[in-house]
């Protein structure tokens, strides 16, 4: 038993400290996959009180601390890039309060998104953010990375729904920033704003207060295919400006369509087509009346293949194909990177062409499956990290992509966060003065960078 092991066991009961190589292997990577950083130990606090107690002693451990939910991050966020201890929050699973009448609930940080959905449904309310990792991802990870999802076009992302955050700082102090009312609480400033999307660099989260909405009464899902990027872009532009306010506007490119059609998720999509998946929802009399209008809009933009349905089975099949894309990519290639950037939508075709041109020239396969309504691109680069030079090619394409994204007025991440995958690009976004403001935030809450070092900003190194 090493020294860290002994000190950890003094802070937590024996069974909740993992140090054997076999146990640690599962924590080496997140959803990014190809980068592996084995932690020195993993701890699993049993509840919020135990997590707070652990944090009170954690500073003295003098090793990096990395908060982790399900580890589904796609940006290299919850990994021990500088070694140290991973704090796995999966046991914090309580949902102590559901106040459907007041449209809020209180949840612990280890609750998974789909579990929360299932708990809320009988109350007639829902929590809208819906990342594809919903069956396993935790609210803690969602808040830390300001997660989004397919229905963000109308409903918004995590930061639009977090009313309050309970955070444990490195000195062991527990603070409630906001609460059911969603304001500042007794503070002069609204500190929860910095906590949301902070990627585990400021504090450990134990519980949240979340805003809820009534469930939509009826949903229609549209499937439209297009022969080229130009007509697809025209359809997207028409949809985002349309008074029918679609909830989701998703796109699969022909390579994504081919991948779906050669899998068990096949749903009869024409070869070589660009697919738009569009959803409208609302009270039945309202949303039923909008169906012909949306179908006509999709046709007018250049589709001769528009179908739509309110049938749950048909709708689910389409969404399963869309959301399973990540898993299918994993079957096609030993490694893949899902990039995440947001651009003004007038630049969609331009930036996608850059992605295809660069990837084709480098001999790297790329599949685009993304949130078109938000201009939130997700090029998936398929490669083999064991082949010398392949990773470097992907990184070079990613760099060119990010430069173009910023040049057209976009941003580095819409919903995955920066992690250590994109921290090197931050000077593209922040000039010297705004960079100083950015770095002041961890300086206030985590000045030694003990929490999640080497993330978000490259030079956040613990012990330097």
């Amino acid at each position: 038993m090493n020294d860290l092991d002994v000190r950890l066991r003094a802070l937590l009961p024996r069974g909740r400290v993992l140090t054997s190589p076999a146990q640690l292997a599962a924590y080496g990577a997140d959803g990014l996959g190809y980068k592996n950083y084995r932690p020195d130990a993993v701890v699993l606090p049993a509840d919020a009180a135990e997590l707070a107690a652990f944090m009170r002693g954690a500073k003295r451990l003098a090793v990096p601390l990395v908060m982790r939910g399900a580890g589904t991050s796609l940006s290299g966020g919850p990994v021990a890039a500088q070694g140290g201890v991973i704090v796995h929050t999966s046991a914090l699973k309580a949902v102590p309060v559901i106040n459907a009448h007041g449209f809020w609930c209180e949840v612990e940080s280890g609750v998974t998104l789909n579990d929360l959905d299932a708990i809320l449904k009988p109350h007639g309310v829902f929590y809208p953010p819906d990342p594809s990792s919903g069956p396993v991802c935790t609210l803690g990870g969602n808040v830390a990375s300001n997660a989004g999802g397919a229905h963000c076009f109308r409903y918004g992302v995590t930061s639009n729904y977090v009313l309050g955050v309970e955070a444990v700082l490195l000195d062991g102090s527990v603070h409630r920033f906001g609460g059911p009312a969603g304001g500042r609480g007794p503070w002069r400033e609204d500190w929860k704003r910095f906590m949301i999307g902070s990627e585990g660099t400021l504090a450990a989260f134990t519980r949240f207060w979340l805003r809820l909405l009534p469930l939509p009464e009826k949903v229609w899902t549209f499937r439209a295919t297009y022969p080229d990027l130009t007509t697809t872009e025209a359809a997207i532009h028409a949809l985002v400006a349309d008074p029918s306010y679609p909830a989701a506007i998703e796109m699969l490119d022909p390579r994504g369509v081919a991948m779906v059609e050669s899998s068990q998720m096949a749903c009869g999509l024409p070869e070589g087509s660009f697919l738009l998946l569009v959803e409208i929802d609302g009270p039945a009399p309202l949303v039923d009346g909008r169906v012909p209008h949306v179908a006509e809009l999709l046709r007018r933009a250049g589709s001769t293949d528009v179908t739509f349905s309110e049938e749950a089975l048909i709708r689910q099949k389409l969404w399963k194909a869309r959301k399973a894309a990540g898993g299918l990519l994993g079957q096609l290639s030993p490694s893949y990177v899902v990039q995440d950037a947001v651009i003004p939508k007038r630049a969609l075709a331009e930036v996608l062409r850059l992605v295809y041109d660069e990837a084709d020239a480098a001999g790297i396969r790329v599949v685009n499956v993304f949130h078109a309504g938000d201009g939130n691109l997700h090029p998936n680069f398929l490669f083999d990290s064991r082949v010398p030079g392949e990773l470097e090619k992907v990184e070079r394409i990613s760099k060119h992509l990010m430069e173009r994204v910023i040049a057209v007025g976009g941003t580095l991440s819409g919903e995955h966060g920066i992690g250590n995958d994109k921290s090197g690009y931050m000077p593209l976004v922040f000039g010297p003065d705004s960079m100083r403001l950015q770095l002041a935030v961890p300086a206030a809450f985590n000045p030694t960078h003990q929490m999640n070092p080497l993330k978000v900003f490259d030079d956040r190194r613990f012990g330097s």
């Binding site: 007041g102 449209f103 918004g156 992302v157 930061s159 639009n160 009313l163 603070h175 609460g179 009312a181 969603g182 304001g183 500042r184 609480g185 007794p186 503070w187 002069r188 609204d190 704003r193 949301i196 207060w209 009534p214 469930l215 985002v240 400006a241 008074p243 609302g282 009270p283 009399p285 309202l286 003004p344 938000d374 201009g375 990184e395 760099k399 007025g409 976009g410 941003t411 991440s413 819409g414 920066i418 994109k422 090197g424 690009y425 931050m426 000077p427 976004v429 000039g431 010297p432 003065d433 705004s434 100083r436 403001l437 950015q438 002041a440 935030v441 300086a443 206030a444 809450f445 978000v456």
Partner: protein, 315 residues
């Protein structure tokens, strides 16, 4: 791996109108009239104005919410970016022109409503919405308890997503429940029918729609109370006898309080705020008034603020 030399200067927003994304960048001193002139040819609108005559930055200073926040969220969800003048005089860009972002720490939401404590806004990037061509304003009239009974029927189901605002208003003329919906003209009868059904099903309640005289703007509130939705509804009623007008923004849990003007307005505002501060804070809520300084920070909070201030002042 991927490293870039720091940019030589801040990447600031220039004024633009992007009719595809539905975003516009304009000076913080712009008014609703300025915006309408820009947007009119593009069938776009910004629904969150509290007082069309007042500059945008005054509206940010007055409240974090507007009645249309029921459907579109608070101001901070509708202002993705700003050019911000630091106390040092330097102007920096905060936020983005795209709505969806998780790049870095969220300074935008932190400073948007901070008054002049950390500098001041120069320009805003505003998220716009499709102009559907028709606005229906309806009022439920009746005893306060009957009007309150209508609120769950408006908010507790899928129709809730389509009301621009649902406001319980107490003023010198009594109490009413105002519902505004902005929709395509051919859809208006569906909304009217739904509202009429709620009124008909609630004893003692009557409904009026699109009265000939258009609504006067609500104006900037003297005091804003943030609490839970259910508490805001009762709180607006409790405060009514002591104020000239109180509006509960029913879904958002916000009470906008308007007081009679007078030299002692700040004192009266402060007295009202102090009376409810403890219960608001207990639920994670707060109070705010553009007539009054912010509450003093605690010792813990001061230590965080001083680090931020050092950065804001350029040291």
């Amino acid at each position: 791996m991927n490293s870039f030399p720091p940019l030589p200067a801040e990447r600031l927003f220039t004024h633009f109108l992007d009719e595809v994304d539905g975003t516009v960048c304009l000076p913080a001193t712009a008014t609703a009239a300025d915006l309408e002139a820009l947007l009119q040819p593009h069938a776009l609108r910004f629904p969150l104005f509290l007082d069309p005559a007042k500059p945008l930055r005054d509206q940010m200073a007055a409240s974090t919410f507007a009645p249309a926040s029921c459907r579109f969220g608070p101001f901070c969800d509708n202002i993705p970016g700003m050019n911000w003048r630091l106390p040092s005089g330097q102007v920096v860009r905060i936020g983005e022109r795209v709505v969806k972002t998780t790049t870095g720490y969220d300074w935008l939401r932190f400073v948007l409503h901070s008054g002049t404590r950390y500098g001041e806004p120069v320009d805003y990037v505003i998220r716009l919405r499709p102009d559907c061509g028709f606005t229906l304003t309806t009022r439920f009239h009746g005893p306060p308890d009957r009007l309150t009974a209508c609120i769950p029927q408006l908010l507790g189901n899928g129709w809730m997503h389509w009301w621009d605002s649902v406001d319980l208003i107490h003023d010198t003329s009594g109490c009413c429940l105002r519902v505004v919906v902005h929709c395509m003209p051919h859809e208006a009868p569906l909304f009217t029918e739904r509202l009429a059904a709620i009124a008909a099903g609630t004893a003692g309640v009557t409904l009026t729609s699109n009265e000939p005289r258009p609504d006067a703007p609500d104006g900037l509130p003297d005091l804003v109370l943030k609490t839970t939705p259910d508490r805001a509804i009762t709180l607006a009623g409790e405060l009514a006898p002591r104020v000239s007008r109180s509006l509960a923004l029913c879904y958002n849990g916000v009470v906008h309080v308007h007081l009679q003007p007078g030299p002692d307005l700040p004192e009266r505002t402060h007295a009202l705020a102090l009376g409810v501060a403890a219960e608001l804070h207990e639920m994670g809520g707060d109070w705010h008034s553009h007539h009054l300084p912010a509450i003093p920070p605690s010792l813990t909070e001061s230590s965080w603020i001083s680090i931020l201030e050092q950065a804001l002042h350029g040291s």
